[in-house]
């Protein structure tokens, strides 16, 4: 039973409303213009990232120098309470992420590309906001959203669809991953994570459904070993699904160029 003076809290209780506000922080203005050392090679204080300068004077980092995440790592013997991230308080990690993503887009010498594919974590968080903002000046083809068939996963992806719409990001389509498992011993197909949730979501949202990718131990194995799945397992169950999805994305890109 509720008291008469109890009220229902809705989204107005959330400070600043639901969406559209990015607490942009000019963290990057504090990064040094000059400075030696490759990105991430030396331990840095918050807001201070070393850069490597190319022959033409432009600052650049080479793909493959994957030590960027070590910038500002807690060093041996350094107490967490003394670390700049702790002193800077909550929110500092997000600001650093934003700065790092901007650097990945603008400072990495990618060379001439046909496609830049950005792998994001799940959700609609700092990384997604920062990525869209960093890539906005470029020709953003769109987003591919991946779900499993279960309602719990589809529930999250519905919110990600909203994010794409609010960010003005074209939705290339939805992929339903982990969609069914065919037993290698008896060929019985079991829908371990249910079936059809991704396709239903695509229909409900009016976006293309790109396809279902089944659970495939060979795919998992080749990811683990860093092998080229498409080259090495053309007869596996996930192969036709993945190639079909890739073809649809290629077709969309050709139509839009």
């Amino acid at each position: 039973m509720r008291k008469d003076n109890e009220k229902c809290i809705g989204s107005e209780a959330l400070v600043g409303g639901l969406s559209g506000e990015s607490a942009a922080c000019d963290w990057t203005q504090h990064l040094p213009v000059q400075g030696g050392g490759a990105l991430g090679r030396r331990k840095t204080e918050a807001g201070d990232a070393g850069r490597q300068y190319g022959g033409d004077g432009r600052r650049e980092s080479q793909p493959g120098q994957g030590a960027a995440h070590r910038a500002g790592a807690v060093g041996e013997g350094r107490r967490w309470e003394e670390h700049p991230l702790h002193r800077a308080g909550p929110g500092a990690a997000a600001r650093r992420e934003e700065a790092l993503i901007k650097q990945f887009v603008s400072d990495v010498a990618w060379g001439e590309l046909d496609f830049l594919i950005v792998d994001t974590p799940p959700g609609t968080s700092d990384e997604h906001i920062s990525t869209v903002e960093a890539l906005r000046p470029h020709q953003l083809l769109g987003a591919v959203l991946v779900t499993t068939p279960q309602a719990v996963s589809v529930g999250d992806v519905r919110r990600e669809l909203t994010f794409c719409r609010k960010a003005g990001l074209h939705i290339l389509g939805i992929v339903e991953n982990m969609s069914g498992f065919v037993c290698p011993h008896c060929s019985e197909c079991t829908n371990i994570f249910s079936k059809g949730g991704g396709e239903e979501l695509a229909k409900h949202a009016g976006v293309p459904f790109l396809g279902c990718v089944p659970l495939d131990p060979q795919l998992s194995q080749s990811l683990e070993e860093g092998r080229d799945f498409i080259q090495e397992f053309p007869k596996s169950s996930a192969f036709p699904a993945l190639t079909h999805i890739a073809q649809q994305i290629l077709d969309t890109s050709q139509r839009s160029s």
């Binding site: 909550p90 968080s125 019985e188």
Partner: protein, 294 residues
């Protein structure tokens, strides 16, 4: 025993009433002893743990479940509480109760539509987490369980910092057997060590699948580098257990039902129960050590 006051937030509203769930480990009219504690602030007395769990053992514990996955709040659906709302009284925000002894808080209850997206940067998310800890009237709880998103992000930093005044028993880290997942989990273990968060242990999820037809086992996510077991040995962390794939788990989550009640004979149920027991034993041990120190 005095009747429950009509204003008591633990008395479920007509909207919240649902058939009682099967209680684990109870038999008939077994008495339900409650843990008694000296009255302190709820968060000081609660054993804060960073993992999801329900009722345990033969005792009925007061459990609070806090969902801090702000962008992907799945707990309302999993707990069968979709569509419920948060009510506010003079004593704060009321958690939404699954049962009398299991209260839940999630941003999912504050969103008016399943399509609403929370597109916030870290500082705003942290502000909400603070509100959840400060403004929610959890009451006296035995366990506060915090469900976090994957990774080592602002949410993780915030919850550790905000709960630093209370004793966090520890973290349970969930992985799948693959190296791709273990790589992330090693970072999470490192994070826990850096922020001095004890690690209760690691759970290996999606650990094997037994075909319902031919009963052969397949490793859908092969443990190419020895799985969680090897990693735990290398990092001196406890492996709490391995949970096999079971299609009923996903179905129960989607329907908001208790998997342990729906599939009591499943090998996954046995695995969950063992994991819960190990966590409980760890927390008891931790609590005893704390009391000796005081």
């Amino acid at each position: 025993v005095s009747p429950v006051p009509h204003w008591c937030p633990r008395h479920p509203s007509p909207q919240q009433q649902r058939p009682p769930r099967q209680r684990l480990g109870t038999a008939g009219a077994r008495p339900r002893p409650r843990r008694r504690r000296r009255r302190k602030s709820p968060l000081e007395t609660a054993r804060a743990t960073l993992f999801p769990v329900g009722q345990v053992g033969c005792f009925v514990f007061q459990v609070a479940l806090l969902d801090i996955d702000i962008c992907g709040p799945s707990i309302p659906k999993i707990m069968g509480l979709e569509g419920e709302q948060v009510h506010q009284s003079g004593s704060g925000w009321s958690p939404v109760y699954v049962e009398e002894n299991l209260g839940v808080m999630s941003v999912g209850f504050l969103l008016s539509s399943p399509d609403d997206a929370v597109i916030w940067r870290g500082p705003k998310k942290n502000g909400l987490i603070k509100q959840f800890l400060r403004d929610v009237d959890w009451g006296e709880v035995d366990y506060l369980i915090v469900d976090t998103p994957p990774g080592t992000s602002d949410e993780h930093l915030s919850i550790v910092q905000y709960l630093s005044a209370t004793r966090i028993d520890g973290a349970v880290i969930v992985t799948t057997p693959q190296e791709v997942s273990l790589q992330d989990v090693r970072k999470e273990i490192n994070f826990c060590r850096k922020v001095k968060l004890p690690i209760i242990g690691v759970v290996e999820n999606m650990s094997g699948f037994v075909c319902p037809k031919c009963k052969n086992e397949s490793q859908i996510f092969p443990p190419t580098t020895g799985g969680a077991e090897k990693m735990c040995q290398n990092l001196s962390v406890s492996l709490l257990g391995k949970v096999p794939l079971d299609p009923q788990i996903g179905k129960s989550c989607d329907r908001g039902q208790s998997f342990l009640a729906e599939a009591p004979e499943s090998p996954a149920t046995l695995s969950y129960r063992n994991i819960i027991q190990r966590i409980q034993e760890y927390c008891e041990q931790h609590h005893l050590q704390e009391e000796k120190r005081m």
